[in-house]
């Protein structure tokens, strides 16, 4: 179990860096808001950013409790399918996660 002092320092480091990354760009980028490039990035970036984060979490799943590729791929298909069908984020996430837990438990 990690020591309390180490853990507190790790949390403080993560908090400070995350906050800096979120706050400091406003000082530099706010004047870009009127530019056509910023407008383009604003519409084009979100979908791609979410795709990259989804891919990143799949990468991250490898160092956690081992869930093999099969259940993960099927659970992703369930999530996307349910979301295209019902368009309800909570239902889609719960359905996909339940599918992943069930399929992982059933996998040999």
């Amino acid at each position: 179990m990690p020591e309390t002092g180490y853990m507190a320092a790790a949390v403080a480091v993560c908090t400070a860096i995350t906050w800096a990354l979120r706050a400091l760009p406003f000082a530099v980028l706010s004047r870009l808001r009127q530019s056509p490039l910023a407008a383009y990035l604003d519409t084009a970036m979100p979908a791609g950013i979410m795709v990259i984060l989804a891919a990143y979490t799949l990468r991250g799943a490898d160092w956690g409790a081992a869930s093999s590729a099969g259940p993960t791929a099927l659970a992703l298909a369930v999530t996307v399918g349910v979301h295209l069908w019902l368009r309800n984020a909570v239902v889609s996430i719960l359905a996909g996660t339940a599918a992943c837990i069930a399929l992982t438990a059933l996998a040999p």
Binding site: P2, M7, V11, P25, L41, I49, I52, R59, S92
Partner: protein
């Protein structure tokens, strides 16, 4: 009402109205944060941390994927320098959020401090694309506060329920993947531009070949470069036309 010159002014929404709006705005992403927070709480306790670290982590760091990574690194006793590097790499994407987040609506130093602190993927997703350009300050702050509450509350529930389970739940971490997949579909539905998600998919696939800690910054750098090139080409074509 606005269209009638000299007519009655649109009333300034009260606290209850702003809270209702914020609750509706946060429902989709925020209620996704609840099971995600629960997954984090479970993961933290199953990794050997005491239960109260879950709310401390989720309230102070307030960056989901980094918190999962932090728990994994802390249980491996990673040096603080590596933790700092991981925080930088995982969250460097937030640099771009300044482009569209309506911080100009949030006046006052303390409010600005909290609003930038709580500029999560979820807050960005809800306000992206100029939708929140005219939202009142209180509605934006309440939205962020509610997501904060769902996330921290979920982590407490997850941490406390870990003791009730007979053993580790495998597959729980998929809640994070499902959240981002759903956010990607919703972002695509807003602009119907397939180029961005397809380019991101290509960049992610290429970056997955790299070591795990380099995947995220590499994919983001490549994706941003692709978008910049596309924008430059589109402008030149327009200039020639």
């Amino acid at each position: 009402m606005d269209a009638i010159p000299g007519g009655p002014r649109r009333p300034v929404p009260g606290f209850a109205a702003d809270l209702r709006s914020a609750a509706a705005d946060s429902a989709a992403v925020g209620l996704g944060a609840l099971p995600m927070g629960a997954a984090l709480g479970l993961f933290a306790v199953q990794s050997g941390l005491q239960w109260w670290w879950a709310p401390v982590l989720s309230a102070a760091v307030f960056a989901g994927s980094l918190e999962f990574l932090l728990v994994a690194m802390a249980t491996a006793a990673a040096p603080l320098g590596q933790v700092a590097l991981a925080a930088l790499l995982v969250n460097v994407r937030h640099v771009f959020y300044a482009l569209s987040f309506p911080l100009h609506r949030v006046h006052g130093p303390w409010a600005k401090a909290y609003s930038t602190f709580a500029l999560t993927d979820e807050a960005y997703a809800v306000t992206a694309g100029g939708r929140a350009r005219r939202w009142p300050r209180r509605r934006i702050l309440l939205l962020q506060g509610l997501v904060h509450l769902y996330w921290a509350g979920g982590s407490v529930l997850g941490a406390l329920s870990a003791g009730l389970l007979p053993g580790p739940v495998e597959g729980l971490e998929f809640a994070v993947t499902a959240l981002f997949a759903v956010l990607a579909l919703d972002a695509f539905a807003r602009h119907r531009d397939a180029f961005s998600p397809l380019a991101a998919l290509g960049c992610s696939a290429a970056a997955l070949l790299l070591p795990p800690e380099r995947m995220l910054p590499a994919a983001f750098t490549a994706f941003t470069a692709v978008l910049l090139v596309r924008h430059a080409l589109t402008r030149r074509r327009r200039a020639h036309a």
